[in-house]
Amino acid sequence: MEEEKQVVTKGSQKSLEVARNAWKFIVQDYAEGHAHKKAGKPVVWSCALVEKELYHAMGLHPFYPEQFAALCAVRRKTPDSVKEAVRFARIAEQAGYSSDLCGYERVSTGFVLNGDLEDAPLGGMAPPDMLVTTSSVCDVRLKWFEDMAQRLNVPLFTLDRPERRFDGIMQYPKPHETRYYRSQLEDLLSFITEITGTKYDPDRLNECLDWGYKTNELRLEILELRKAVPSPMGCADGFATMYPGMYCSGTKKAYEFYRALRDEVRGKIKAGKGQIEKEKFRLLWYGIPTWFNMGIFNYFEPVGGVFAYEPAYNPHPWPPRNPKDPLEEIALRTMTIGSTMSTTIPALLEQCREYRIAGGVLAYLITCRAIYLPSLEIRRALEKELGIPSVLIECDLVDERTFSEGQVKTRMDAFAEQILKKHESGKSLNN
């Protein structure tokens, strides 16, 4: 971390040791990926929402363009140059990709168009043998991966998870839905076998799913621990430590990472220690963070505000392990996730109660339709249902050119004044 300092700007101050060391985990994982490729083994570029245990079971090392774009948002080539994300986004925009498109898409496309896949932070993403994406959550990842596959002339596989809608009650996936998804998982495995020669081995997959399941349980436990007052682990820690769970699920190293994290959080709670000395109010961060400016997560600390909860990368409970039919298990897991406002908004309100949230900072991501579209409804629900004020931070995920610091500061200051006024007047801040 030390030697990186001069090129990493506006990092966040993390409150946990494990979170401060998460960077090493990422560097190590990239290095393993590059070594894997050099040894002649296959590499996949994957959308972050594909079930990663499959890759580890099939001997693939995955790189994730979304995560890579976020990495580019914090790194510069030289201290004087623009952020790598801006450099790549410009390349894409020159090639006709609209600046209204998702920053992740523009950055990784620019990286591909740049031609030199090593000319990037951490040596870039190793040249892929295949691309895999999913229709989960947003449309962009379909077109984006199609486009990269065409430009790299590399085979692509798309998993389709139909966006299920829940009307009032949570519905268990119907047989035709899991059957549909399961058939695609089978086809994905044959697709991988065809390219790499590696045969599908259910025992190997079960082993990875065991690690994945245990890791997920740990992450759920940590999430539960984070409800403690004062907040032992903030959003800066949360975002810094999501990498192993999001991208390395199914490996022992991810499990060990969260075990250490869980222990540290437990210890902090036991010692009665929070993120800061005197916690006055707790905040929600809705959406993906402003990767280019993670310092924002410490912004309210001088006035006693801490970011306590972020729903973005949180784990969902998994269905029980089904070693006899691991593909069925994965299909069931995936088809249980819902992403309509009918369910996400009430769930978010419930979480705000549980985490004693006093205010919401909503990333108003103008280029990420999936996160952006519900923003105004969430803002209204927080105010109407819980009496919680919120503020919108308008920007892209990784493209700092969209971020107006002065404007954001005024908004956040006024928002803090509003919350503190409530605090002074003796109204309960922690619902």
Binding site: R90, E93, Q94, A95, G96, E400, R401, S404, G406
Partner: protein, 264 residues
Amino acid sequence: MLYAGIDVGAQSVKAALFDGQKMVGSVCTVTEEAADEAARAVYADLLQGVGIQRQDVEKVWATGWGAADVSFADGKSSEQLCAARGARWLLPAARTVVDIGAEGCRVMKLTPEGTLEDFANNSKCASGTGSFIELGAVYLKVPIEEMGPLSLAAEGAAEVSSTCAVFAESVIISKIHEGETRARIAAGIHRAAATRIVELIGRMGFIEDIILIGGAAMNPGLAKALEEMTGVPLRVPENPRVVVALGAAIQASLKRSRRGKSAS
């Protein structure tokens, strides 16, 4: 034989006279008058300046935003086409024409033979136009004609990150507070505008020679910023504002031989 071209823009009207070999006269007037009257007045000025009569002119060709309103024109063509014609006549090696006016920026790509192959316009936002620099000058309290020379005096440039011409004001003010010199800020404003323009040039493939025309071409600061960012020398003609009008005049001279497709 003489041919006239009239370029009716939103803020100024330009006219040029072409004799088949060279440009024999040109006028550029900032005016608020209705398009037809303004064109008439500028055309009269042009003829008077050269000292010829209306009947000496074989054809009058209109272009620009108000081209359709020029009642005495024999025909009209788009600005893109006229810019290509004019630029190519001034610089036979031109393959890329960058036309930066007050509100618009467009880049034309030409084939090796000189015909228009493709073009790109700036879309909904005015960064990368002359106005961006103009407003910057207002905020810096520097006369607009001094902006370019001022920026040339700077060592390096301040980062002006705002993409909105109006909001650049707060960025500029905060740069002043940070102790930045006016020259460095002026350089930063030019770089910000140039970034957008380079994006458009990039879309057309950066093919040399690149010629810079339009009112903003007279700003040496912008030309320098563009050269630095593209890494390619830019050619600026002597009177860049009238190149499109000249192109219209040339277009008029070519229209004779075409398959009866006169102006509709």
